[in-house]
Amino acid sequence: MVGYTARRVAWVVPILLGVATLTFFVSRAMPGDPAKIFAGSQATDTAIAAIRAQFGFDKPLGVQYLDYLAGLARGDLGTSVRTGHGVLDDLMGRFPATIELILAALTVALVIGVPLGVAAGASARRGAERFARGVSTLGVSIPEFWLGLLLIVVFYSSLDIAPAPVGRLDIGVLAPDGVTGLITVDALLAGDLEVLGNAAGHLLLPALALGLPAAAPIIRLSAEATASLLRSDHLFYTRAIGTPPHVVYLKHVLRNIAPIVTTMTALIFGFLVGGAVVVEEVFAWPGVGLYAIDSLHYNDYAAVQGFVLLAAAVYILLFLAVDLVNTYLDPRKRLT
């Protein structure tokens, strides 16, 4: 087990190196000169050349690449041409917003997905199964960003019960000082109900836009897991001895499908760090995705590379953690 873990962990570095390399060269292939954009339209050629030298864009590509890797090894992701800050600081400042959004979306997905999936898997009637299947089929066919727009039309433009789809708080409302950076959690810890309500209101629509489609795979997975579980000898016996249904479902079914649903949820989390980009754009949600899109428009190499690395690292580490936990829990998997 120790050897297996070590081997798997050791793979993370070359994979991230591959991601960094590919991103580096793709972003250098983009047309447009970030130094010119940074300097503004009035800048002289000497000023642009100075900026180019400052950011190292005047060196040969190979040297820039090696410099970049050397920086990465020191934990330095470079400097953003657009914001003028270190990319790592920029990303860390915005990452809590993205995490808050994803956690809220996953909550939506689980609250809807698990009960619906279990009900569909357990029901002998076709209607329930067909309903769940229909919902999940529809879920994978809806673009999240459009769902977000639809929610804005209904709940902001028409009904006027949601706050303006811009950012995490109303203008003038200050975010509480908190350790987590998740405004809802920080407000709760500080006992500030007004800020909590404001932040939750802003969070609701983007979380629905991202979470409803994410419920689709969870519905499907829990329906299939429940159905096959109910056919097992274990559950057959449990039911045969007269265990009441609520015990069967709450204790036996939920406990048995929990690992596989947790695995799926972790993978969706990893996927959403990169996948939330367009929803962040729609709601002007100040997370890392919006940062990446804005940086792309400015040819801000370092910032885009930093975002890609962050998303990839989160995905890889979550995948690794899930894999290791599952291997630990199920020794049969260690052989492969």
Partner: protein
């Protein structure tokens, strides 16, 4: 279920269901055929030119003056553009699937059949690729190489390919050492012949299924790229781009410019998803029996 289990029946008796997904398939193919016909025949019956702006008619609500879905900022007829736009999104999906198939199936066959070093190299490349936030990668690549229908299709195809590689590789590994493949090897067939005649056909079920699912995904990704502004170039009525220009009036209650193109996306993605799901039940007899 509980009512059907008698004391004589073993607990694993499959439920008496015969669902092969034929209805879903028919529905999916039906939607697809309708959309295809509607968009190809569009020039024959559309009342407005999808590429002709008419500024005085800006933001007419649906139903006014024969504008079924209303008009947008430039006075474009939204219905004409939605119908006409289907050809672009379909073409992108088609190109994407073709690219994903060629790249993905080839690499998957090689990795699965050859094994050893070939497999290791391809699998590790896959690890790198799958860690990428694909949407951002696609945006960056399109930013680098310009915009257009073909390049959008190719980029989406490349980012869709890994799924095919993984599926085909796994399937191939399970049949690589089966008797009929071994017999072919003994008969002196070349590696390419064996892969084409014996290994590939055994993969087709998985491949068709994934192709349909990936087509749905390609439609969604193309729309997202168009929405961000790096997909199909501006005047062409691509749905994602239409939605993004349509959002300008959104907070003023002008919903039709972005809602209708979105519905079209959902419809087409839904058609491909339905086809994919039906094919997956058809391709996997175990699933055919159980649900």
């Amino acid at each position: 279920m509980s009512g059907e289990v008698s004391s004589a029946a073993p607990p694993r008796t499959p439920r008496p269901r015969r669902r092969t997904g034929a209805r879903g398939l028919a529905l999916g193919v039906g939607i697809l055929a309708t959309v295809l016909l509607a968009t190809l025949l569009a020039p024959l019956y559309l009342p407005f030119d999808p590429l002709e702006a008419n500024l005085p008619d800006q933001y007419l609500p649906p139903g006014t003056d024969g504008h079924l879905f209303g008009t947008d900022r430039s006075g474009f007829d939204v219905f004409s553009r939605v119908v006409y736009g289907a050809r672009y999104d379909l073409l992108i999906a088609l190109i994407a699937i073709a690219v994903a198939l060629v790249v993905g199936v080839t690499l998957g066959l090689l990795a699965g059949y050859r094994g050893r070093a070939t497999d290791t190299v391809i699998s590790r490349l896959l690890d790198v690729f799958q860690a990428f936030p694909l949407l951002v990668l696609a945006i960056a690549v399109l930013g680098a190489f310009g915009r257009g229908i073909w390049i959008t299709g190719v980029v989406i195809g490349v980012v869709s390919a890994p799924t095919f590689v993984r599926l085909v590789r796994e399937q191939t590994r399970t049949i690589r050492d089966r008797m009929f493949v071994e017999a072919a090897r003994c008969s002196g067939f070349t590696e390419v012949q064996i892969m084409r005649r014996y290994v590939l056909p055994a993969n087709l079920g998985v491949i068709y299924t994934q192709a349909a699912t990936s087509a749905a995904w390609a439609i969604l990704l193309a729309a997202a790229l168009g929405f961000v502004g790096v997909g199909v170039p501006a005047p062409l009525p691509e749905w994602g781009y239409m939605i993004s220009t349509g959002t300008e009036g959104l907070t003023r209650g002008i919903w039709w410019t972005s809602v209708f193109p979105g519905l079209a996306i959902v419809l087409l993605a839904l058609a491909f998803t339905l086809i994919g799901e039906s094919l997956s039940r058809w391709a996997d007899p175990r699933r055919r029996r159980s649900r």
